[in-house]
């Protein structure tokens, strides 16, 4: 599987260009219980997509399907125009998909440096020391703790470590799952600023959040090219520009439409 390009040169960016990521009629089930009933959306290269919705809407499951951690029952997953349905998580990671999972996406018994050594598998040939350098430039605090066991870092630092891969491995698409979960508001604010910084590099981002307000504000702020979808009960209920979504959000959450 070829690695998807992180950013497109302007020449590539023709109107007929396929979206970087596309989901077509994705259905997925936990054993016999279907939780995604045909999800369709696409993400343009260099854009930000926010997936919103109440608890149990299927947002995280959608991300798991995109990352290859869960195989869809039917439907297609396209990356950079190639059909990658059925590819395993490690193949997709090497193809440029970078999932920052909910909770803490770190190996708690490994040191910070060893955690980064693991990033090298999806680093497109970058050496571990290059990866470390890129990560420490973004998060100097991790540099101070490089030989500390990751499980002993604070919650915010753990999330930084998890997020550092988005900077160091130069992925094509970053999937952020509930970045704010279990963290103090001030740290969430800090992390959202980091994500805001990420968008300026032109990388494609898919964000899943329960707290719709925060993420819509973020999308609005960086607004160059962003959209949002609202999911509920395993289907996409609403899609459009963040501003439009914000107006209709109350209806969406209360089960209208």
């Amino acid at each position: 599987m070829p690695r998807a390009k992180a950013q497109r040169t302007p020449k590539d960016n023709g109107a007929a260009e396929a979206p970087l990521l596309e989901l077509r009629g994705i259905r997925a089930a936990y054993e016999s219980v279907e939780v995604l009933h045909g999800i369709d959306f696409s993400v343009e290269a260099g854009s930000l997509l926010a997936i919103l919705g109440p608890n149990g809407a299927g947002k995280s499951t959608t991300l798991r399907v995109i990352a290859g951690l869960m195989q869809p029952k039917s439907g297609q997953l396209l990356l950079d125009g190639h059909d990658v349905t059925g590819a395993s998580a490690d193949q997709l990671a090497r193809a440029g998909i970078c999932l920052i999972p909910e909770g803490r996406g770190i190996f708690p018994n490994l040191t910070v440096r060893e955690n980064m050594l693991m990033d090298a598998y999806s680093g497109d040939g970058r050496s571990p020391s290059d990866l470390e350098e890129a990560a420490y430039t973004q998060f100097p605090r991790l540099g101070e703790r490089r030989d500390q066991v990751a499980g002993t870092l604070s919650g915010g630092e753990q999330q930084m470590l998890s997020l550092s891969r988005a900077f160091s491995t130069d992925p094509a698409i970053i999937l952020l799952d509930e970045l704010s979960m279990g963290l103090a508001p001030v740290i969430v604010e800090e992390l959202f600023q980091v994500v805001g910084h990420l968008t300026t590099t032109g990388v494609t981002i898919v964000v899943v959040e329960q707290f719709a307000g925060a993420v819509l504000d973020l999308a609005d702020r960086v607004a160059s090219n962003c959209s949002a979808v609202v999911m509920a009960q395993g289907s996409v209920r609403l899609r459009g520009a963040p501003r439009k979504i914000k107006r209709e959000l109350a209806t969406a959450y209360l089960g209208g439409t």
Binding site: Y30, E31, S32, V33, V35, L36, N55, G56, A57, G58, K59, S60, T61, T62, A67, G68, L69, S88, A89, D90, A93, R94, C98, L99, P101, G105, I106, F107, P108, N109, L110, E114, L117, M118, D119, A120, Y121, S122, G123, P128, R165, Q233, G234
Partner: protein
């Protein structure tokens, strides 16, 4: 003092072997979550391969070593991972993993016997057993190499896990296989590598220790028990502690051999059992449970109501009388096979009660049966038969409870390990002890004689055993339908939650252990009577293992599974000896019986309801048309709340 140093060096050399073996065990356990009971058997198999190459084919030693340890061993490890372990890991319960590796143990033994036969072989020492002297002590080159190898392995593993990307990845997989995948590294690559490493270490340990012993299937497979003890001392996760554990076990074993009096037969019998005693002590010291145990519950068919099962039982008993006469008319040996099938069915139902219902795996049920038989055999003639039978059952039950009491806080692999330790201990200490067996190698056991009613003919034995099976089956079903049975299932699925709602988990575990062991003792007493004489061979630990495995093949959760399994168990050797008539039938039976049972168990272990469950699925819809049977319930459809819960996970 010289004696002390001589034995100290022997102890260190043994420790070195244990350390190599135990680290292999820990590495595979950590990365794949499977505690490999077949680790020793794998090493045994590789030692045989090495013997084949170096001795039988006359290859030079270095070449044979390289081919065995660097080519065949890793291949074997990867093959196991791909064919067996990988299909297991996702969501397999601890009991399933246990059964699969136990089945592998049996398969490796069968395979080695099938290829190399039963004759004893020896493997030469390295450097032909030459020695050198330091400070007046003579030390063999083989011992030196063994100790240096262990040190080399320790150092090499440390470098691997700290310095190399693959080693760090192995540790990362322990933390989260899923996260590894999202970072672009397939966890399969890592577990494959760790199984290859595990196999290499198992083979290395076996090749190092084999020259001191005979190259024999059982000895080498069981040698790993000391490695288990070392691994348990390292809490199955800490490699330096595992090394230290190996030293403690190896040295104390050598010292016990050196200083224990050698006059008394009990002490003599205790010697080979030392590793098992040490294992049990290690379990008690370090066996606290910190392991994440994923409970994966299975659908149980709703039992038919009591009136129906008792009625069915009476019909079966009534039919058994003419059936026994007909079978005896055909041939005596058929009748005997039928009767021992019934006896094993009774023992298997006890196992179903314990393992299927309460989720505790026992590897010593044949030992309970043996205790029952021995107690009955030792009973003076003045005691009436029925009273003697009850006493036999009670003694077996008490032994079960006494063993369960310290082991009860252990679950999963630790409980299985401690029952295995006890089974082997009893093999040596009781069933093979001529004091216990009244001076000979077997003990006569009487047949039922109840209040003047002599039930000693072959036909009446069949009927008596049928009655016992019907009785046990109904006891099991009564337990399952009762509040006690519901508590046991709850405990099996989640011990933590059961404690939280106020259940006394320990008391329930003890009760079911006592009940299961005493019924097994009763069945064993009758089995002894059926055979007329019992000896060590009747209750060997791997018989317990085979019974557990056949029960799993046919369904560890139901009476029908127990019945089918028991009959498979007694009929299989007969089929094998028929098939191999004219050839070397003992070897074929010895080799192929474990091989067939092992492979079948591996193939079916993923479904606890077993083959009987599959047959039931087909038959139930037809049966439900009969009055008096509960409605057939197909594979449980998740209820509405369950759907919502599953949906909420996303």
């Amino acid at each position: 003092m010289e004696k002390f140093f001589v034995f100290l060096i022997i102890g260190f050399a043994t420790s070195a072997v244990y350390a190599v073996s135990a680290t292999g065990l820990v590495v595979t356990y950590l990365t794949s979550g499977v505690f490999n009971f077949a680790h020793g058997a794998m090493g045994m198999f590789l030692a045989f391969v090495y013997w084949e190459l170096s001795v039988n084919r006359g290859w030079p030693v270095p070449l044979a070593l390289v081919v065995t340890l660097l080519v065949i061993a890793p291949l074997l490890g990867v093959l196991l991972d791909v064919l067996v372990m990988r299909r297991l890991v996702a969501g397999a319960s601890v009991a399933t993993k246990l059964v699969v590796t136990l089945a592998l143990l049996l398969s490796f033994q069968g395979l080695a016997l099938a290829i190399w036969g039963i004759e004893l072989r020896t493997l030469p020492n390295f450097f032909g057993g030459r020695t050198y002297e330091i400070l007046g002590l003579s030390i063999s080159w083989h011992q030196t190499i063994t100790i240096l190898t262990a040190i080399g392995v320790a150092f090499g593993l440390r470098q691997l896990f700290r310095r190399t990307r693959l080693g760090v990845a192995m540790r990362a997989v322990v933390d989260s296989p899923e996260l590894c995948a999202t970072k672009g590294l397939s966890p399969n690559v890592v577990t494959g590598a760790s199984w290859a490493l595990g196999a290499m270490l198992a083979g290395l340990a076996a090749i190092l220790i084999a020259p001191g012993l005979n190259l024999e299937v059982n000895t080498l497979s069981l040698l790993v028990v000391s490695a288990y003890a070392a691994a348990v001392l390292g809490r199955l996760q800490n490699l330096p502690a595992t090394f230290l554990g190996a030293v403690i076990i190896g040295v104390s074993q050598a010292m016990v051999v050196a200083y224990l009096p050698s006059s008394n037969e009990w002490v003599q019998n205790l010697r080979p059992a030392i590793p098992f005693v040490l294992l049990f002590i290690a379990l008690l010291l370090r066996g606290e449970l910190r392991l994440p145990e994923r409970a994966r519950t299975h659908a149980e068919p709703e039992p038919p109501n009591l009136r129906f099962t008792i009625g069915l039982g009476l019909v079966v008993i009534a039919l058994s009388i003419p059936f026994a006469q007909w079978l005896g008319g055909v041939s005596k040996s058929n009748l005997l096979t039928g009767s021992s099938g019934m006896a094993f069915a009774a023992i298997t139902i006890c196992l179903v009660m314990l393992t299927g219902l309460s989720g505790q795996v026992s590897l010593m049920h044949m030992s309970f049966a043996g205790i029952g038989a021995i107690v009955l055999g030792k009973m003076p003639d003045s005691v009436p038969y029925l009273a003697a039978l009850v006493i036999a059952a009670l003694v077996a039950g008490l032994v079960g409870a006494v063993i369960a009491l310290p082991a009860i806080r252990l679950r999963g692999i630790y409980l299985a390990l401690s029952t295995l330790a006890f089974a082997i201990l009893l093999d040596e200490l009781v069933f093979g002890n001529s004091d216990v067996l009244g001076g000979g190698s077997t003990l006569p056991v009487e047949r039922p004689n109840i209040a003047g009613l002599r039930l000693e003919s072959e036909e009446s034995m069949f009927v008596v055993l049928t009655v016992v099976v019907v009785l046990f089956a109904n006891v099991f079903l009564i337990v399952r339908r009762s509040k006690f049975g519901r508590m046991l299932s709850a405990m099996r699925d989640s011990p933590g939650a059961s404690q939280m709602i106020g259940m006394n988990v320990t008391a329930q575990k003890l009760k079911i252990f006592f009940l299961s062991a005493s019924l097994a003792g009763l069945a064993g007493a009758l089995l002894g009577g059926l055979q007329a004489r019992v000896g060590q061979l009747d209750f060997l630990w791997f018989k317990s293992l085979s019974v557990l495995l056949v029960a799993t093949i046919f369904g560890i959760t139901s009476v029908s599974g127990a019945l089918l399994g028991a009959f498979f168990f007694v009929v299989l050797p007969r089929i094998l000896s028929e098939v191999s008539e004219g050839g070397n039938s003992t070897t074929i039976t010895l080799a192929f019986q474990p091989l067939i049972i092992g492979l079948l168990a591996i193939a079916t272990a993923r479904r606890p309801e077993g083959l009987a469950g599959r047959i039931r699925e087909r038959v139930r819809p037809l049966m439900s048309r009969l009055p008096g049977l509960p409605e057939s319930k197909g594979p449980a459809e998740p209820s509405e709340p369950a759907r919502e819960m599953a949906g909420a996970k996303s």
